[in-house]
């Protein structure tokens, strides 16, 4: 993989993370199966996929905790395995399940992590403790899950780093704290930092992320801006027509067509919308509702379309869970 920086000096084209064709197996389980991931410097990148799809494995490879079997990975222009220590001065990580030492207070852990990274901004630390309403004098065992999560978040946001890797960082936070978290991520972006955000909270992703990558069974299935991804999916159309509809069933890209008298309901692939509208206006439109795909539909489609893929290309046996449908 060529370094992102070699392409040009402008910030927009600099890559913070470049992963290509990454493989990783544990025994007979293929956790990663040729995963690709590109994160531009300065963006907030959503990293999505069902449980067991390989998100955390990818993140652990990016942190140099695991070594990829094949393929390449670069973080901030460095090799995450060989240059781990040097690289980690510029990276802050928040795991989805924070475990603390029972004897150490939250404040001690925050300061420890800060010193073990590039350093800690004391004013920012104080401000974050205030905003997250965290009591830094409590000891590890006495924190609730949400409060343990806050300890790691304060340590990450107060650190002087270029890249934040957040693995489901808000599990356990209440809605108010979720709001604080989103403001903090926006501030990080405004400071020019890069954020890789793995999350299942779609509103959070929609609110924060410039681009997203969706992975399934260790492979990237979609990557781009939310607008790009929406374009690839179906729009729901409901119409009341003046006369009986004509020829809709033969149009390309039309699905789930349901005609009852003059009422039509259908789903259409968003880039085939033109032809459908033309056909509807031919019959005379009394009323029309067109709903763009919600993010949920977008994800559910990617998370759920196992059946198709299983038939087409998936003959591997692996232990990954798929979402219930």
């Amino acid at each position: 993989m060529t370094k992102g920086r070699a392409k040009g000096m402008t910030k927009a084209t600099t890559k913070a993370i470049t992963v290509s064709g990454l493989h990783k197996s544990f025994g007979g389980t293929h956790a990663l199966d040729g995963l690709d991931l590109d994160v531009e410097a300065g963006e907030v990148h959503g990293f999505l996929g069902p449980n067991g799809s390989g998100k955390s494995t990818t993140i652990r490879v990016l942190l140099g905790l695991l070594r990829g079997d094949a393929g390449s990975a670069q973080v901030l222009g460095q090799d995450p395995w060989a240059d781990a220590v040097e690289l980690h001065r510029r990276v802050a990580y928040v795991p989805g399940d924070v475990t603390l030492w029972r004897n150490l207070s939250g404040g001690e852990v925050i300061d420890l992590y800060g010193r073990l990274r590039g350093g800690l901004d004391p004013a920012r630390r104080a401000e974050l403790i205030e905003r997250f309403e965290l009591d830094p004098t409590k000891k590890g065992r006495t924190y609730s899950k949400g409060n343990r999560q806050k300890v790691a978040l304060v340590a990450a946001f107060a650190s002087d780093v270029d890249l934040l890797i957040l693995d489901e960082p808000t599990s356990g936070l209440d809605p108010l704290m979720e709001e604080v978290f989103q403001r903090c991520v926006e501030e990080e972006r405004d400071r020019g930092r890069t954020v890789l955000l793995s999350s299942h909270i779609l509103s959070e992703v929609e609110e924060l992320c410039d681009r997203v990558s969706i992975i399934r069974k260790g492979r990237t299935v979609e990557s781009g801006t939310l607008a790009d991804l929406r374009h690839l999916t179906r729009t729901s159309v409901t119409a009341e027509l003046a006369g009986p509809p004509n020829g809709l069933a033969h149009l390309p890209g039309v699905h789930d067509l349901d005609i009852r008298g003059h009422r039509v309901r259908l789903q259409v692939e968003t880039d085939k919308l033109d032809a459908v509208l033309r056909s509807l206006t031919d019959s005379g439109v009394r009323s029309l509702t067109s709903t763009p795909p919600t993010l949920e539909e977008l994800f559910l489609r990617h998370y759920q379309d196992d059946v198709q893929d299983d038939v087409l290309d998936d003959v591997r046996v692996n232990g990954e869970g798929t979402m219930a449908r």
Binding site: S56, G64, R67, R115, R141
Partner: protein, 541 residues
């Protein structure tokens, strides 16, 4: 009137129902605990049982005739340092010698097994948060403690039956007395662990404190036996291990000692029950204080020291105290033997080249060394604990290399081993009254063997976290070979497996630098290989 009676009856019924509810789920929990311990428990019981049951044959192969055994018994009884190590000999039959040679150690190991079982199923479950989920089901407040004590009872009961049945050929009464005594010691420490587990919030601390009490029981018995040759010292009677000895299996059993075990188990069990019923799940009677809002820890090394300093302090105090106690016994041993020319000659022929005092001190130094091996393994395996509990992951996601992270803990492990051995030597010197340098030097020589086991732990952990607990096995084998190997007539090739077997016998013997330097080099090589392996492998997720 009638109403009042009914009300009283109702209250009484309520109390009974409440106490029944507090035990709800005990049976299910007990089955669950036994299933979780399906490997550990049979292993402990099997090894202890094997040690005891193989003893008569081993003794027979070395001391075949009645005259030889009588001679052995006489020598052992007159030597106060050997009495401190094994207790007095009450009978020179094969059964009697078996009880003398292995009984106390079987009790000691049963105690360790029991405290591990009880803490594992009580405080450890609460500390991990798993108890919360269990207690949300149909599980009474006192059910986990009850089931844990019952699990310990099962293990100790099977062990007692195994000994009673296996040694029946040497005399049914003696075998039964020994079996019940060993199991009794186990249950005394099971209930003691149950109390300690209510007091501390940390399972590690609960195990450490109970282990310390077990060590104190050993030292009390040793001190008592060094001053008297019939187990009648008050110090001996203060120790459950002394009760086992005073039960005199195979030597006109004193059955009236058995109620002492029962009384101790009942009283300690009642205290633990009372405490368990009064506190909240997950809480302890020693509360957690708030910590500082700002931390001063700034490196992986500082973190390692912060995490391990409590253990280092505990081990240091323990070694200083044990050393002082052993040193104190030594003075008595020398005085006693000094008045008897014949005994002195026997002991000196037995191998203590410069006399009974040095031979005794060398034995104690060796014991401290083998116990220090347990420290070094537990300290090295902190790395394993940090990794498997997912606490290492965020630390390593910072600008901390694996080597530096591991070395932080290894400095504490290896440096701590040298420190506790030095303190043990200091204690021996102080307790003995003079001649600090030879005992201190002797203790530091042991460090080479201790480090070798530490290096093995690093190697196993470095290769794979699944292999890491094997280091306990290695330390256990070294301990068994050192303490009991000679009496089992184990071939020299097997004895040579233990690094401790290669060290010069100090003080008293000739200092030999070669084995010390070779062992140190092996320790370094093992550590370096382990660290190299750690750098190359995946961290467990």
């Amino acid at each position: 009137m009638t109403t009042a009676t009914t009300a009283t009856a109702a209250v009484r019924g309520g109390v009974r129902a409440r106490s029944a509810r507090q035990l709800a789920g005990t049976g299910t929990l007990l089955r669950f605990f036994l299933r979780r311990d399906r490997l550990m428990m049979p292993l402990w019981v099997g090894v202890i049982g094997l040690l005891v049951l193989s003893m008569p044959n081993s003794l027979k192969s070395v001391y075949g005739t009645v005259a030889e055994r009588a001679d052995l018994a006489r020598q052992m009884l007159t030597n106060s340092s050997l009495r401190a190590t094994y207790g007095p000999v009450f009978d020179d039959s094969l059964g009697g010698l078996t009880a003398w040679r292995i009984g106390g150690y079987a009790g000691l190991f049963a105690g360790i097994m029991s405290l591990l079982v009880v803490v594992r199923h009580t405080r450890e479950e609460e500390e991990s948060g798993r108890q919360e989920l269990l207690s949300s089901a149909m599980v009474g407040r006192r059910a986990p403690l009850t089931a844990a004590l019952l699990a310990a009872l099962v293990a100790n009961g099977v062990l007692a039956l195994l000994i009673a049945g296996g040694l029946a050929g040497q005399g049914g009464g003696g075998a039964l007395a020994l079996g019940l005594g060993v199991g009794g010691v186990g249950m005394v420490f099971a209930t003691m662990a149950a109390i300690v587990a209510q007091l501390t919030e940390s399972a590690r601390l609960a195990k450490g404190l109970t282990g310390g009490l077990l060590g104190a029981a050993f030292v009390l018995r040793a001190a008592g036996d060094s001053s008297t040759d019939d187990g009648s010292s008050v110090l001996t009677w203060l120790s459950p291990l002394g009760w086992l000895e005073n039960e005199r299996p195979f030597a006109q059993e004193r059955w009236w000692v058995l109620p002492l075990f029962v009384a101790a188990v009942v009283i300690q069990g009642a205290v633990a029950y009372e405490l368990a019923g009064r506190r909240d799940v997950g809480m302890s009677f020693l509360p957690t204080r708030p910590g500082p809002a700002r931390g001063r820890l700034g490196s992986a090394g500082a973190l390692a020291w912060r995490l391990q300093r409590g253990a280092v302090l505990g081990w240091s105090l323990g070694f200083l105290a044990a050393g002082a106690a052993f040193g104190g016994i030594t003075k008595g041993a020398a005085d006693l033997v000094g008045s008897n020319d014949k005994t002195r000659q026997i002991i000196e022929r037995m191998g203590g080249q410069s006399g009974i005092t040095d031979a005794f001190l060398a034995t104690m130094v060796g014991m401290l060394g083998m116990v220090a091996a347990l420290y070094v393994v537990s300290s090295v395996l902190r790395l394993h604990g940090e990794e498997t509990s997912q606490r290492a992951e965020p630390v390593l996601a910072n600008a901390v290399g694996r080597l530096r992270w591991a070395c932080g803990h290894l400095v504490v492990a290896f440096g701590g081993a040298a420190l506790i051995m030095a303190l043990g030597g200091l204690g021996l010197g102080l307790g003995y009254g003079h001649e600090l340098r030879p005992v201190l030097g002797a203790c530091l020589v042991q460090v080479a063997a201790v480090w070798t086991l530490g290096g093995l732990a690093v190697l196993l952990y470095g290769i794979s976290p699944q292999l890491a607990p094997g280091a306990w096995g290695a330390a256990g084998v070294a301990l068994l070979l050192g303490w009991i190997g000679p009496a089992l007539n184990v071939p020299q090739a097997v004895m040579d497996l233990s690094p401790f077997g290669h060290l010069p016998k100090l003080p008293g013997g000739e200092m030999a630098w070669t084995p010390v330097l070779i062992l140190t080099a092996i320790a370094l090589a093992l550590t370096a290989t382990g660290l190299a392996a750690l750098r190359r492998r995946d961290m467990s997720t």
